[in-house]
């Protein structure tokens, strides 16, 4: 699955309405309000032809699984997304769509490519942007991605922390990789804040070497998996949530520039190559593949935000990136249970499987390392 966000004027808001406005797809153009009826096997948008400009999608989840709704442009560039729509809930997504062809997708269970429907938008073409405006648009688009991920990160970290403090080991273990997924997707943001990153995501040997207390995600991970309890974890849990909130707030005050996000797209792959491939990130839980996938998704999101710039400046590079991202997905996704979304424990992978993952990541890292120079040349 691909989770990136690029859009002009995306707003997500939770609606309390439980109204189920199911209607058949209309062949007539519609503007303004649309409804999306999502079940575990169907995704019905009330209109397939739209007018250019802002549209509001009202997504109602009539299924039994938590779902997501996306509007994709070509190359799975995300124009807008709403995550975490629980069964019975309705949420709204406002997207400003220029003329073009898009796809609406529901993702019951929040995995896979989703159930898709083509959306054709006609009307006035979007005004072309100047180069620097394109870079600004890319940075804005990524900032919106960070916002959406940050919200989910705080939600899921809160749930994780609550489970730890309640002494619910099984629940905490189940939430650990899920909450970390949102963290790992936007890791370049956290890494901007030098002192917060190590106390939140540091490893035990480094803490020992520095002579500081071992804290953060991995401190609690160790207690859960090695000791099988949550004793003494309350203080670390509270501190984790505080730090995550602080990083999110700082990140929103200082959004990444286009160049930083180009570098971040590479940084995320470096994370994979140095931390995940070796299985040292989640050494106690072996949930590395969740983080692995999240790093790849975060990198892909950064590239998606930059896509209009890259397509103009280096179309061959875009083709190469698309091909290599697809190759990574193919190699990686075979280790995920399509029904539950669970990933194989990293210690279960054979040497050969790890080598295959390493090869596809290396193949993607080479073209990714060229992106920053293209962005710098476009400024």
């Amino acid at each position: 699955m691909k989770k990136h966000l690029a859009a002009l004027g995306v707003l997500t808001m939770t609606a309390v309405s439980l109204a189920a406005c199911a209607s058949d797809p209309a062949e007539t153009s519609a503007s303004g309000d649309l409804t999306v009826s999502a079940t575990d096997s169907e995704c019905t948008v009330s209109a397939a032809k739209l007018d250019a400009g802002p549209s509001t999608f009202k997504i109602t989840n009539k299924g039994s699984k938590v779902t997501e709704f996306y509007v994709y442009a070509e190359g799975d560039r995300i124009m807008g997304e709403v995550e975490n729509v629980g069964p019975g809930l309705t949420r709204n997504l406002v997207v400003d769509l220029p003329k073009g062809t898009y796809e609406g997708a529901c993702k019951p269970g929040m995995i896979g490519d989703g159930i898709r429907q083509t959306l054709t938008v006609s009307g006035a073409a979007a005004k072309p942007l100047s180069d620097s405006a394109e870079l600004k648009a890319a940075a804005d688009s990524y900032a919106r991605y960070v916002k959406s991920q940050s919200d989910a990160l705080i939600d899921k970290t809160t749930e994780f922390v609550d489970a730890v403090k309640a002494g619910d080991v099984d629940e905490a273990k189940a939430l650990f990789p899920v909450a970390r997924t949102y963290w790992e997707r936007i890791e370049p943001v956290a890494e901007k804040f030098g002192d917060l990153d190590p106390i939140t995501d540091g490893r035990e040997p480094d803490a020992i070497a520095e002579g500081v207390d071992f804290t953060g995600w991995h401190r609690i991970e160790k207690q859960l998996w090695v000791e099988g309890n949550t004793e003494g974890m309350d203080v670390y849990a509270d501190q984790l949530l505080d730090n995550v909130k602080q990083i999110v707030a700082l990140g929103q005050d200082a959004p990444l520039t286009a160049l930083e996000l180009a570098q971040g797209s590479k940084g995320l792959l470096d994370e994979v190559a140095t931390g995940k491939i070796t299985g040292e990130e989640d050494e106690f839980s072996h949930t590395d593949l969740w983080d692995f996938k999240a790093n790849i998704e975060g990198s892909q999101a950064a590239i998606a935000s930059l896509r209009p710039v890259l397509e103009e400046q280096a179309p061959d590079l875009v083709a190469q990136l698309d091909e290599q991202f697809a190759a990574v997905d193919t190699e990686l996704n075979q280790h995920q249970d399509p029904a539950t979304g669970e990933w194989v424990s990293y210690d279960q992978l054979t040497k050969k499987q790890v080598k295959a993952l390493s090869d596809v990541v290396a193949a993607l890292s080479e073209p990714i390392s060229q992106v920053a120079a293209v962005v710098a040349a476009s400024a």
Binding site: A362, A363, E366, S369, A373
Partner: protein, 432 residues
């Protein structure tokens, strides 16, 4: 890295200034030789020109690195192709050829090199050879069976019909303990130089160019060439302390080179004519046990004197071996199971090899012993009639006495295409 250009680029000299200095030194040396030593004139001290400043030619009928003089250092790497696409393989071979031509001539890889590109872009060249001379660098490529067919024998890259008959898996030999992880490979690169940093730089940059198309299977560093390929070179010693390669084919033996190294028109396939087969064997040596063997024991196992390298039948290093000679005890002077006898052409239907091996030490094994040995490399016209013939004679505890002290742990067989012209690329005959 962006090496989408496959046309030869002149390249940036990584050593422009130093190169000029090298030529100046040559001139000074020549002048010094002509002039007598005159105290009053205080002539500049005679500077010996740096032989490493003169590159080994890259283009030619045969690849460099086979009969060209053996350098001091080796970095050998075997790769597996991760791409299945023929065009992408061709592009890789073209880019490798261009980059190798640049590096062997002492230039940076790419048009902009190590420090000339965009500050936001990773440099085209990795840079650790900046300022270093060509150092005799040669880069030699070989194709494994896996390039042509997969494990089930199905053709790859449309090359099934081009597979040479002789490019089979080598047969097993008694005593082999081969580790598949350090054996085989679809492609092999032998980078040799007099400076290990230059050899590493070459392999590192070629591997980098290949990301997404080929992935390293194993690599091996070697030092102290154990063979001489020219009569102008002294015979070096292996880690057993013996001169190794005394009887090697030398480039000066034109007939031998022609008969035993290069693939002929009649041998086929056409794309390989002018090329050669490379056999690699990683041979672990039981160093500590060997060191406890008496001098006499060591010499009789090898069949040569340790100091001079001369055969135990008498004479200096290059004396012809007299296998009929008998010692004071009435036994053959050159033991029936001595290494030199069993490896000799006389007992192997005349087979000879061009050896180009290197010593290696891969640290230690945790038991207080060195992980050391010989990375054996041999070039030949026909691996069955040459390497396999000789190894059958040597292998097994019933044969070569040396087998008590060595074990073969890695193996490879590669078909090395002929050399290229200025606009050619390695393996071009395969895709014509």
């Amino acid at each position: 890295m962006s090496t989408d250009d496959t046309t030869p680029a002149p390249g940036l000299s990584r050593r422009k200034l130093l190169g000029a200095a090298g030529l100046g030194a040559l001139a000074a040396g020549a002048a010094g030789a002509g002039a007598g030593y005159v105290v009053a004139d205080e002539p500049a001290p005679a500077v010996v020109a740096d032989p490493d400043a003169v590159p080994v030619p890259f283009d030619g009928a045969h690849q460099a690195g086979i009969v060209t003089p053996a350098q001091d250092r080796l970095y050998f790497v075997a790769l597996d192709l991760t791409t299945q696409d023929r065009d992408s393989l061709v592009a890789l071979l073209k880019q490798w050829t261009v980059a190798s031509r640049q590096m062997t001539q002492g230039n940076d890889v790419g048009k902009l090199g190590a420090v000339g590109g965009s500050p936001y872009s990773p440099p085209e060249d990795t840079g650790e050879a900046l300022g270093l001379p060509p150092s005799g660098l040669t880069i030699t490529i070989g194709f494994g069976r896996g390039l042509f067919v997969d494990a089930d024998g199905a053709p790859r890259f449309g090359l099934g019909g081009q597979l040479p008959d002789l490019l089979q898996e080598l047969p097993g030999f008694s005593g082999d303990r081969l580790d598949p992880a350090i054996s085989g490979g679809d492609l092999a690169i032998q980078a040799c130089a007099n400076d290990p940093q230059v050899a590493v730089h070459a392999v590192r940059n070629l591997v980098r160019i290949a990301f997404g198309r080929a992935s390293v299977r194993y690599s091996q560093m070697g030092f102290g060439r154990t063979s001489s390929t020219s009569s102008a070179q002294v015979t070096a010693r292996n880690l057993f302390g013996f001169k190794d390669g005394t009887a090697n084919i030398k480039v000066e033996d034109r007939q031998d080179v022609d008969d035993f190294v290069w693939v002929h028109q009649d041998d086929g396939p056409a794309w390989l004519v002018g090329g050669s087969y490379l056999v690699s064997r990683k041979i672990d040596m039981r160093i500590e046990t060997w060191d406890r063997e008496s001098l006499q024991g060591q010499e009789s196992i090898i069949g040569r004197a340790k100091g001079s390298g001369g055969p135990l039948s008498g004479g200096d290093e290059h004396e012809a071996i007299d296998f009929a000679a008998v010692g004071d005890d009435g036994e053959p002077a050159i033991g029936l199971k001595s290494h030199v006898r069993l490896a000799h052409p006389d007992v192997n239907d005349g087979a000879k090899l061009l050896r180009r091996g290197y010593n290696f030490v891969d640290g230690s094994n945790g038991l207080g012993q060195l992980s050391a040995g010989l990375f054996f490399i041999a070039y030949q016209r026909d691996p069955i009639k040459q390497f396999v013939r000789i190894q059958r004679s040597l292998a097994g505890l019933q044969n070569d006495l040396l087998n008590e002290y060595i074990v073969h742990v890695g193996s490879g067989l590669f078909a090395c295409p002929p050399g290229v012209g200025p606009d050619g690329y390695w393996g071009e005959g395969l895709f014509a």
